[in-house]
């Protein structure tokens, strides 16, 4: 009887086939939600009856509780699995079966690493740059430090997020994999500085992370993060250092808010549950994109224009963007831009991106075929996925055929280009670069709205202050627009590698971008005269 029961891979295929029939859809993905695809409990009854008829021991409850094929098969697998099987978690079905027995003791789940993760780790190893892809954040709490409560909060945080208990394996299994451990050593260090003022604590924290960079996080050892607390008399400063390969900027903010909540509310903290299967869902979409020739062709076409700044020379080594220029964007300007965005029915991001495209065109002396890298969010759209800590972003080339015309036209063009790219975002940048045999762009634009940090103000107890965030990407010229940062408000930050981009060019870009935003906020229908004359 045992050998007649289909294995997980077969079961998944059979259930997908049955669902496709009852939901009248040509195909059902591993992560398509039964309800989202139109299912209800009566359809569920028919699906369960068919699955049972084909040898799958599934009940109505199983399907209603696990509304994706991945979760359902994992739940069935879990119930039937022998007790000593180390791997669990819904995403483990993505790891080749041959690897399951090879997982070390103490690993509770594992899944193939994404191309993006592999690329990040490869670059940080190759560059020898210890700062590359180390994400750092810190804040000051103007109150006495309760060490026991903090340790409990940190322990619960680590239990909550798989990413904080993970490491990578790049040789022991048939594919590069991210391993999730049942437990990890505490990453906490505490430095007591009796009588230190808040300013001295913050300074000490910055010294600590400079020193910490001498001991970079080892991707083969969990946890891939550290936590440092500098404790003064009536204040303390917390610093988190996390490997970017396990966490993106949004997740870093979420982890920070979770830690603050767990510390402020102790046993009463009730954080909403983190959903399963988010990481696996992204991995699946990456694999699907890599296998799709239409996607590869799309990106080749989007980036197949001469580069703007570097003349098409493939830089040797990894860019070292260690010079930054920071400009504050005042609240009135941002409010005006928001109003213009509403009038034009465009997201605020598209206005800033439009201004960036024109400033970039001027820097390169070109009005046609402008390509800029754009950092995009690839977080799977499933309930509660925002609560899941992981790496869900990509940087992709966005191409506009011209930066002429009115601001409104330009911003719409950028928005349309971004929307056009939406179905293809899971295709990893590294592969676009391989297909093209050079970097597809030399300038990257990133827009961040820091509203997640605003939650930190409403937790009760002394409000944390002095938030800072730091990270170093691997692009020669990167433009960051931050909106509503808790500490520094809205700002424009340009980070560049002076070996690739001249300092005066970077400054010219910043000045032009600042002017562009003012013009855009004042008269979005004006034709920019400089763009017109350079045409």
């Amino acid at each position: 009887m045992q050998e007649l029961t289909p294995g997980p891979a077969d079961a998944a295929a059979i259930v997908r086939e049955i669902l496709a029939v009852h939901l009248a859809e040509p195909t059902i993905g591993l992560d398509d939600d039964f309800y989202a695809m139109g299912g209800d409990s009566l359809i569920a009854l028919r699906v369960v009856a068919d699955a049972q008829a084909r040898g799958i021991e599934v009940t109505l409850r199983d399907l209603l509780y696990n509304s994706t094929v991945r979760a359902l098969v994992a739940a069935l697998d879990l119930e039937n699995a022998p007790e000593d099987t180390p791997a669990k978690g819904p995403d483990v079905v993505l790891l080749p079966a041959v690897d399951h027995a090879l997982l070390p003791a103490g690993v509770v789940s594992a899944l193939p690493a994404t191309k993006l993760q592999v690329g990040m780790i490869y670059l940080s190893e190759r560059s020898g740059d210890r700062e590359l892809y180390q994400s750092m954040t810190g804040w000051l709490v103007p109150a006495a430090f309760d060490e026991a409560s903090f340790r409990t909060a940190l322990r619960r945080l680590i239990e909550r997020h798989d990413a904080l208990r993970s490491s990578f394996d790049f040789g022991g299994l048939s594919v590069p994999a991210q391993l999730i451990w049942s437990a990890v050593e505490s990453p906490l260090t505490i430095r007591r500085m009796a009588g230190a003022t808040p300013a001295e604590l913050t300074a000490a924290a910055h010294r600590w992370h400079q020193h910490d960079l001498d001991l970079p996080l080892d991707y083969e050892r969990a946890p891939l993060f550290r936590c440092h607390v500098a404790v003064g008399g009536d204040a303390f400063h917390v610093t988190l250092v996390v490997h970017h390969a396990i966490i993106d900027g949004w997740s870093l903010g979420q982890v920070l808010v979770d830690l603050l909540t767990l510390y402020a509310q102790g046993d009463h903290a009730s954080l909403p549950p983190v959903p399963d299967g988010v990481a696996g869902r992204f991995l699946e979409s990456e694999l699907a994109a890599l296998a799709d020739p239409v996607t590869a062709t799309f990106w080749r076409n989007e980036s197949n224009v001469p580069p703007l700044l570097t003349g098409g020379v493939r830089p040797t080594g990894v860019a070292n963007a260690d010079v930054t220029i920071e400009t504050a964007l005042d609240t009135a300007l941002v409010d005006d831009l928001r109003a213009v965005a509403r009038t034009l029915e465009l997201p605020l991001k598209s206005l800033l991106f439009g201004a960036h495209l024109r400033a970039l065109g001027e820097l390169a002396g070109r009005s046609d075929d402008i390509v800029s890298g754009l950092v995009v969010n690839t977080r799977p759209q499933i309930a509660g996925s925002d609560l899941f800590a992981g790496l869900f972003l990509n940087t992709v080339p966005i191409r506009v055929d011209s930066v002429r015309g009115t601001w409104a036209e330009l911003c719409r063009r950028g928005y349309a280009a971004e929307r056009r790219a939406a179905p293809y975002l899971a295709y990893p940048l590294g592969q676009i670069e391989v297909d093209l045999n050079r970097p597809p762009f030399d300038v990257v634009f990133n827009f961040t709205n820091f509203h997640v940090y605003q939650q930190a103000r409403h937790l009760g107890g002394p409000a944390p202050e002095g938030f800072w965030v730091r990270g170093k990407p691997s692009f020669p010229f990167r433009v960051d627009v931050d909106i509503d940062g808790v500490q520094s408000g809205s700002r424009l930050v340009v980070a560049f590698d002076p070996a690739v981009v001249a300092d005066r060019d970077a400054r010219a870009y910043v000045a032009r971008m600042a002017d562009a935003l003012t013009e855009l906020a004042t008269d979005p229908l004006a034709v920019d005269d400089r763009a017109a004359t350079s045409a």
């Binding site: 859809e25 939600d33 309800y35 989202a36 695809m37 139109g38 299912g39 209800d40 409990s41 009566l42 569920a44 009854l45 009940t59 109505l60 409850r61 209603l64 509780y65 909540t261 009463h268 009730s270 954080l271 909403p272 549950p273 983190v274 959903p275 965005a341 509403r342 029915e345 997201p347 759209q381 499933i382 309930a383 509660g384 925002d386 609560l387 929307r419 939406a422 509203h451 997640v452 939650q455 409403h458």
Partner: protein, 440 residues
């Protein structure tokens, strides 16, 4: 299912949450015992219910229920509130008490209680037959609304702007059926201009040993006249200070109605003079559990079950990171048979849309004004309110339905049914008057 789990009696009929949501939600708290009235809905769903828990007839002997020794009792169905309160009293389990359920279900007594407690003063007059109309309009004035004395969900609710129209409507209501229930005429509370949102909001509350707790203020998409909901969204678009005012009003209303143990859904109108109570319902709002789970991972059924078990509930802080929305296309006002629907797969692929379900199957008959029905249900999440409006407009452009009206089949777009007339392409197909009001 194991014997040592607490038994949670669920008085089940069509309501705010589905049988599946109930089963999933109460897992870990207890096992369900479904007590079902003999209705079309429950006979339809019986095969599902029997796989999810034990099923007993509601009208059976109380002793049968006692033998199951339920540890808790609750309902998600408006029409089951009185029966649930009586059972709870007989079994000695916490629930809204019988007197409170009367105030929560009888809209006239509810208004009286709110008036006496000084919470709000809305003119009202009972309408027991068509000849009551002249006295009612004299007492209440115009504009007014006519709505059923008992019930919720904007069913059979009409706005009246002149006395003659009101008389005609009253005559029609009572002529329709000799057994038409009692109605009530109520002063129309004018909202303040609120587009592109609705002037209606609602508050979900839980009351138990820990006292009154309010979970969230929901905002709505603009209503289709007269009072048809087309969707809701979280988080609420109003400033925090105004949300606090809304919650304070809800608190006063629930206290006035004597709510001590249970879940409530309070509808509130935003008016030029501040928020005013439309009505308080003694159960969860429709689809609220869906949006709570999507937006914040909070299962409202689980909270309600824990509350029914007598646990003190502290509501979690809801933290929707994005704007989460729900959308319905309302059925046409004229009787029609649904022939086909188009665009479901395309709707699911729209950026910002998470899922789409259809509630009305081809071949089904829709009875027009008698009962306004949600034909479908789309949900999703967007970066901000503007992005949500763009997504909704795209949804309304994507979805369309073929209806047979009086023997001829016409294609009607969701935009038209949802009252978004500016989105409707002009042309003979789009001009069929399916939403011109219930007076047809």
């Amino acid at each position: 299912m194991t014997a040592d789990q607490p038994v949670i009696a669920v008085v089940f009929d069509a309501g705010a949450v589905s049988a599946a949501e109930i089963a999933v939600g109460i897992t870990g708290v207890g096992q369900p015992l479904f007590l079902v009235p003999d209705t079309e809905h429950t006979s339809h769903l019986r095969p599902v219910l029997t796989q999810l828990g034990k099923v007993l007839p509601l009208t059976g002997a109380l002793d049968d229920v006692r033998r199951e020794a339920p540890d808790a009792i609750l309902t998600f169905s408006e029409q089951m509130l009185p029966a649930t309160a009586e059972l709870a009293a007989a079994l000695g389990l916490p629930f809204h008490d019988v007197a409170t359920v009367t105030l929560l279900t009888d809209k006239q007594r509810q208004r009286t209680a709110l008036r006496e407690a000084g919470v709000d003063d809305v003119r009202q007059y009972p309408l027991r037959c068509a000849t009551d109309w002249p006295a009612a309009v004299a007492a209440v004035g115009l504009p007014a609304i006519i709505k059923p004395l008992i019930g919720g969900g904007s069913r059979d609710t009409f706005r009246v702007d002149d006395a003659e129209q009101g008389q005609a409507l009253a005559t029609r209501i009572f002529a329709r059926s000799a057994t038409a229930g009692a109605f009530v005429v109520e002063e129309f509370i004018s909202g303040r201009p609120s587009l592109p949102f609705s002037d209606l909001v609602s508050v979900e509350s839980l009351c138990g040993p820990a006292g009154l707790r309010h979970l969230a203020v929901s905002s709505y998409l603009p209503l289709v006249p007269p009072f048809i909901l087309t969707g809701r969204f979280w988080p609420c678009h109003l400033p925090e200070s105004e949300q606090r005012e809304i919650i304070a009003l809800t608190d006063r209303a629930l206290t006035a109605l004597g709510v001590r143990h249970g879940v409530t859904h309070t509808e509130i109108k935003l008016t030029p003079v501040g928020p005013r109570i439309i009505e308080v319902n003694g159960r969860m709002g429709g689809h609220v559990n869906d949006i709570a789970r999507a937006a914040s991972g909070v299962d409202m059924v689980r909270l309600a079950a824990r509350l029914a078990m007598g646990e003190p509930i502290e509501v979690p802080q809801l933290r929707p990171d994005r704007v989460h929305f729900q959308y319905h296309t309302p059925a046409p006002f004229r009787p029609a048979r649904m022939v086909a629907m188009h665009g479901a797969a395309e709707a699911r692929r729209l950026p910002g849309v998470t899922g789409y379900r259809v509630f009305v199957r081809p071949g089904e008959h829709l009875d027009g004004a008698v009962r306004i029905r949600e034909m479908d249900f789309a949900w999703g999440a967007c970066d901000d309110y503007d992005d949500m409006h763009r997504t909704l407009a795209a949804l309304r452009r994507t979805l369309s339905y073929d209806f047979e009206f009086d023997g001829s089949v016409r294609r009607v777009h969701a935009a038209e049914l949802s009252g978004a007339h500016d989105e409707v392409a002009s042309g003979p197909e789009a001009s069929y008057p399916v939403t011109s009001g219930p007076a047809a």
